[in-house]
Amino acid sequence: MTNPIADFSESEVILITGSNTTEAHPIIANRMRRAARAGTKLLVIEPRAIPLVDQASMFLRPRPGTDVAWINGLMHVIVKEGLADSEYIASRTEGFDEMAEMLKKFDPDTVAKITGIAADDLVAAARLFAGAKPASIAYAMGITQHITGTDNVKSLANLAMLTGNVGVVGGGVNPLRGQNNVQGACDLGALPNVYPGYQKVTDATVQKKFEQAWGVDLPAHVGLTVTEVLPGILAGKVKALYIMGENPMLSDPDTAHVEKALRAADLLVVQDIFLTETAKLADVVLPAASYVERDGTVTNTERRVQRTGKAIEPLGDSRADWEIICDLSTRMGYEMNYASVNEIMIEIAQVTPQYGGISYARLEAGETPCWPCPTADHPGTGVLHVGKFSRGLGHFHAIDFQAADELPDKDYPMILTTGRISAQFHTGTMSRKSPGLNALAPEAFVQVCPKDAAALGIQDGEKIRVRTRRGQIELKARHADMVDQGVIFIPFHFHEAAANVLTNTALDPIAKIPELKVCAAKMERL
């Protein structure tokens, strides 16, 4: 997030898109609803009628996979009606003219044809958003899990800059991260193109810095992403895979393909707290201690670093993830002799500029700084890009609309979209061990709008088959007004009816994120 969570209380308007916030980030949704009680207007633009619509001033319902079109449409109206922040554009940005050229064709009527959003509604939404200062944008994986995910994100950044809302309290472009330490994993270089602190692996100076810090020669070319590794195994290029705390058998698209790849590896090592669907395929399984059994830090979606304290001893012979890696590394001839997480954090602070001022001493004293926090006396940074973008001028991107990879047709007439529900988490490895959560959300289901259900004679609660070009699953149909006609929704937490048996592996060419939010499907009665 460019802004802290608390900033939502300062916004005049919050545009919420690609996020079912009350289910996926409930405590952030609480903040938004409290803001709404105090006068903030919520503008929800979502394919599904999410619960936040109850508190919203305006709700627009685009077809899944048409985000660039409606965002460009909003900007078209804003520019045409002279609502853009011209002073901000002149002093802080570049590339406006090229983008404005692109926006010309996204008039409300054209956008209506692509997205299904009525032209008048689009105009009203544009006026609402541009008329507010500050206005914030919050989004989640409904924006990123598309082949145009990167385009979608850039388009939202365009919108925020066009209205002068980046670098101001209560504004910003705010991705809500799905897992508790996605932010930290990215910050600390668990990415194939960057070292900790987003320092590029292809930058010779950076490479040298890490070679000195670690005392070894380092590779200069970018590595493979999660979504490239599996095809890499099948192509015989990747032979050994070490998976720590992930369950790609459930989280990745096209499960059959994932399983084939994992089985094809010469060596599969899985380190986890449970024998997950993925661990069952491993050659070696290493038992990790859970987070209450060891010390550590995590970084939340607003870049806030917090401690997780050790409450109990590790169960059985399980060990902390970092201890296992140290032991293995030392056995392979590269000594890692950290006595504690504290010592690892000292090294992190040395090589990661954003974490330069983070230390256990500060965290233990009750501080929870947001990075960038470059020095020990730096309080941390709430709002990013104040006065100036980290790259200098903010760059507008001219982005054209591109349809989703797989659209409904005669054989597969429905759009299938996937996501989260509040009482379960990710692949269910942890949350499905809770009796309370299981009682609240015991089983997989598919949301179907009552009209579509009636057309096929599907009753509420009836078990049906959902089929795509990749596979099929059987699960209960739930009649729900939340989904539009022609759209069905399946949560991905349940292994017995795993949504990702169905989803499309087509990737965003830059972010390499699969298009989990749109594919063509059909429903069949059993």
């Binding site: 990415l191 939340n300 990710h426």
Partner: protein
């Protein structure tokens, strides 16, 4: 902010403008019984247990909603005040199921504790039988309106902390109770089963189905279930994590938790399916092994695959330090940049 000076039971105290008499009393270390007052919520002033006397003011105003004023002279307890409070308490209890004061298992009931502190054992009035509704529809908590004292804390929690307002006062007079919009089951309402109202209820009216035991100590941690970063206090008893509650000092959540954080944060920790020993595949089966066997095997098998024949998936669910070491291992030991995690999924 401007400072005010007032006298509480003869003691001089200074408080900021806007403070209530109750705030001032607490600042002076003077205890006043309260029931509907909740520091997380806007003042309500419904129960009248917190009444005091203020020089120059008629009657006995509730201290939790009466603003402190400069030069005010407050008496928090005299015979008349104490008697009035006891009457309030007796009326509350007269309307309450009589198994409550003797009931075990509800040790955390604020109402019982208050009654005891005030020396009220029996209400001595003709009990008013109530036919409050009992709502069993939610799998994680029960709502028994016979035990409700209409303090409005649940309503306030859902409205002011969640901004939701799934529950309200419904009906009138003696039949008043807390219910959902159309008076139907909570499970059919907009309720999100977060349990925040249960935490704020001072009686047994809202109760978890599985009340957790009192822990011996608490350790601050962060919820695992999304990127919000809510701080959770992990309660430990007998070497086990037995309770999770929102950390009032959590910078993001200030004690608030959602359904996953509240009911799912610890349940998996001691689950029988936890892995507790390394496993090695032998003759097609995963079999138990020692750490030495497992790690030596991994080290030996990884050695020939240095470079781009190796890849690792780090994790968005483990700590920063683990992620740092996994990428360092991948780069420095295995000689490849093929380290990634499921941020994209």
């Amino acid at each position: 902010m401007a400072e005010l000076s007032l006298t509480i039971d003869g003691q001089q105290v200074a408080v900021a403008e806007g403070a209530t008499i109750l705030d001032a009393a607490r600042a002076a270390g003077v205890a006043i019984p309260t029931l509907c007052h909740d520091p997380d919520l806007e003042p309500y002033g419904g129960c009248r247990l917190c009444i005091v006397k203020v020089e120059g003011m008629r009657g006995m105003p509730p201290s939790c909603i009466t603003k402190a004023a400069d030069g005010m002279c407050v008496t928090t307890a005299d015979e008349e005040i104490v008697a009035a409070r006891r009457t309030v308490m007796r009326l509350l209890l007269a309307d309450h199921p009589n198994d409550c004061l003797s009931r075990r298992g509800n040790l955390d009931c604020e109402l019982q504790r208050l009654a005891k502190d005030m020396g009220v054992r029996e209400h001595g009035l003709i009990p008013l039988t109530r036919e409050g509704s009992i709502d069993q529809s939610n799998p994680v908590f029960v709502r028994d309106m016979n035990r409700c004292v209409l303090c409005a804390r649940c309503v306030g929690a859902c409205e002011q902390i969640l901004g939701l307002g799934a529950i309200h006062f419904i009906r009138r007079g003696h039949a008043t109770e807390v219910g959902t919009f159309m008076g139907g089951d909570i499970a059919q309402s907009t309720c999100e089963s977060c349990g925040e109202c249960v935490v704020h209820c001072p009686t047994g009216a809202l109760a978890f189905r599985e009340p957790p035991p009192e822990p011996e100590k608490e350790v601050a941690s962060v919820c695992q279930y999304c990127g919000t970063g809510c701080s959770i206090l992990m309660g430990v008893r007998g070497g086990k994590v037995v309770r999770a509650r929102g950390n009032p000092e959590g910078p993001v959540n200030r004690g608030n938790l959602c359904v996953k954080g509240r009911f799912g944060a610890i349940e998996y920790v001691h689950h029988p399916e936890r892995l507790t020993t390394p496993l090695i595949r032998r003759e097609g089966e995963l079999q138990e092994a020692s750490w030495d066997e497992a790690l030596d095997l991994v080290a030996e098998k990884l050695a020939p695959h240095k470079g781009d024949a190796f890849a690792s998936f780090s994790s968005a669910k483990v700590a920063n330090e683990d992620n740092y070491l996994m990428q360092k291992f991948t780069r420095a030991v295995m000689g490849t940049n093929s380290v990634d995690h499921c941020a994209r999924l």
